[in-house]
Symmetry: C2
Subunit: 402 residues, 2 copies
Amino acid sequence: MRVDPARLRFEIEARDGAARTGRLQTPHGEISTPAFVPLATRGSVKGLLASEVAELGYELLLGNTYHLMLAPGAELIARRGGLHTFMGWDGAIITDSGGFQVFSLAHGNTTAEVKGARGRPKLDGGVISIEEAGVEFRSYIDGSSHLLSPERSMEVQAALGSDVALVFDECTPFDADFDYTAKSMQRTHRWLDRCLAWHGESGSNAQALFGIVQGGTHEELRRESAETVAAAGVDGLAIGGTLGRDKEEMAAVLGFTVPLLPPEAPKHLLGIGEPDDLVSGIALGIDLFDCAVPTRLGRHGMALAPLPERRFRYNLRRGAEAEQDGPLVEGCPCVACTRFSRAYVCHLTRIGELTGARLLTIHNLVYAERLMAGARDAIGAGRLGAYRDAILDGQAPWEASA
Amino acid sequence: MRVDPARLRFEIEARDGAARTGRLQTPHGEISTPAFVPLATRGSVKGLLASEVAELGYELLLGNTYHLMLAPGAELIARRGGLHTFMGWDGAIITDSGGFQVFSLAHGNTTAEVKGARGRPKLDGGVISIEEAGVEFRSYIDGSSHLLSPERSMEVQAALGSDVALVFDECTPFDADFDYTAKSMQRTHRWLDRCLAWHGESGSNAQALFGIVQGGTHEELRRESAETVAAAGVDGLAIGGTLGRDKEEMAAVLGFTVPLLPPEAPKHLLGIGEPDDLVSGIALGIDLFDCAVPTRLGRHGMALAPLPERRFRYNLRRGAEAEQDGPLVEGCPCVACTRFSRAYVCHLTRIGELTGARLLTIHNLVYAERLMAGARDAIGAGRLGAYRDAILDGQAPWEASA
């Protein structure tokens, strides 16, 4: 592990079992961890201004290398002064490497069933070739051909100017077998070395680099990957790839993977963010989570709510919500809940008004932020276990914190 | 003319030729006139919260009887305490009668060519019958049958609880002939009496009623309609129906119609709101304008700008905007112009991000508000003619006011 204090410092403040609170210091401010990281995939948190996301309490956003290199182009953003300036965001930015997106295209949708779906190692979705050099694919926008390689991913992320870059990796699908997963992991490790070489030679000292631990659901592969990535000299570690077919398998995989990682390093669990997954991940010692769940659910008419039996959400398009005068969730401090009725949000959602998507996006982001803030408080008070149990039992974050 | 001071008072403050500034006092606050009235067609200004529209300087919104009676239903809104409470809007609301929408369905799209298009008096678009009793039509949402009549329109508007209701009228299309227009106008006048009767018997004293002057492009019909509506006992007058095939004909029709109306009455020009139309209408003595232009253009990637040769707008989807570091419009005080580059809005617009539609909606509403504020200042200073000429000549509102 190499942590360059010029570009990133991570200080653990309190511990409660494996869980911990900390402060991640970046050139664009400090992030209180554990933190949820909203997606600004294409340069905006959909429907919100960056300043509005900051007002909800967020300090770190995730931008997407694959989407931004295709539109508007990383070099165009660099000419505008980088992604922070371009999108008007004063806080910190982490960028993914584009690996997840190009391999999702190739393998089919890898996001189903806890990020591991019925994908196959065959080429699809615009991917022309997967070679040791990198992945060649066609733009979904104009059909133009692009190469995403370790070096190109680093170059794009340098142009975007994110505070934290992720190394280029292959995200293996759920149904890849042991041999494919092992070979893919080894290539990901070779790509890690190339990312580090590019970053050392051409990268900015203001940009930290997180490695990605692969290995699928296989403990021996996760161990090998954790040791390789930790030894390579990165500023933090992310856990990528499939975590299994369901939440039980995810718990098992994380249960043996997280302890393999260096305790002092910041740990990012990629693409996970349902309320139960957040509190469970925090308990294992995860510091950062990014996920489309709060924002995507909001655009699809779903509100996060303390409903463990309904995957912590309900559908505002249901007719039964049309006459509900109460808020989306009782006690929620968000503007949707304090100023409007569930009936109003139901109406806007059913007819597809932009304001409905916006109110639900705000509610869901506030819900996730309150969940994380409650967890930080609980760790500080040495009662994370009780907090997690209360969340899993159906209490709202502000009830579970009380 | 009857102006009931309990529900509406209109005080003219300054005059400059036929133009005037005034204050329209409603149960939900005062409106400085001349004013532009943004559309909250289905209970929201698309993409914005009501409080955000107020922050842009607006005091009056227009809700839509036809759309709100179909979804979520006027009675549902009444059970929530009325439209103000339902949508969280503390300011005043004017509701249209639904006449424009049902007759647009019947006649085809009447909005083209200055609100008068190639419509024909044949039934179409879900309209089952047009009778003296009213218009029967099918819901575009679920196919259910509905009657919109003078009484039902008044009943719906009473349930919505708007500060100003509009009488139920037929909006005649551009290519209706003299006989059709005359007969339609006479029926609209009979419907006016029925609206007044319903309102007198069952309406609220807190809701004012505006009559609508019809008569198409025919001076003798506009005169007859103006005299009939003014004599009927309404709190204000709106100008409806076709204003001709182009802006020159509109200027002619408004030129002979506006002087026919009682000078002391508030005057609303329905469905008109391009920048040149606003300053020209103000010069004729119009006090209120509602129009989809700023908000709809915003959702379609267009920014209002001081470009008379390009209909006061330009398209952010054009590739040429992708490298522009300046604001949408130099000097504009809106958040889109003060915090973001044209390149950023272009990017968001081209990929269809909600935040792009939102930034352009805000910009366009601020542009229209600054245009109206500049006109009010100019009338107060006795220089509206120069202000109008400067706007028509391509100056931005804040330049033309200087």
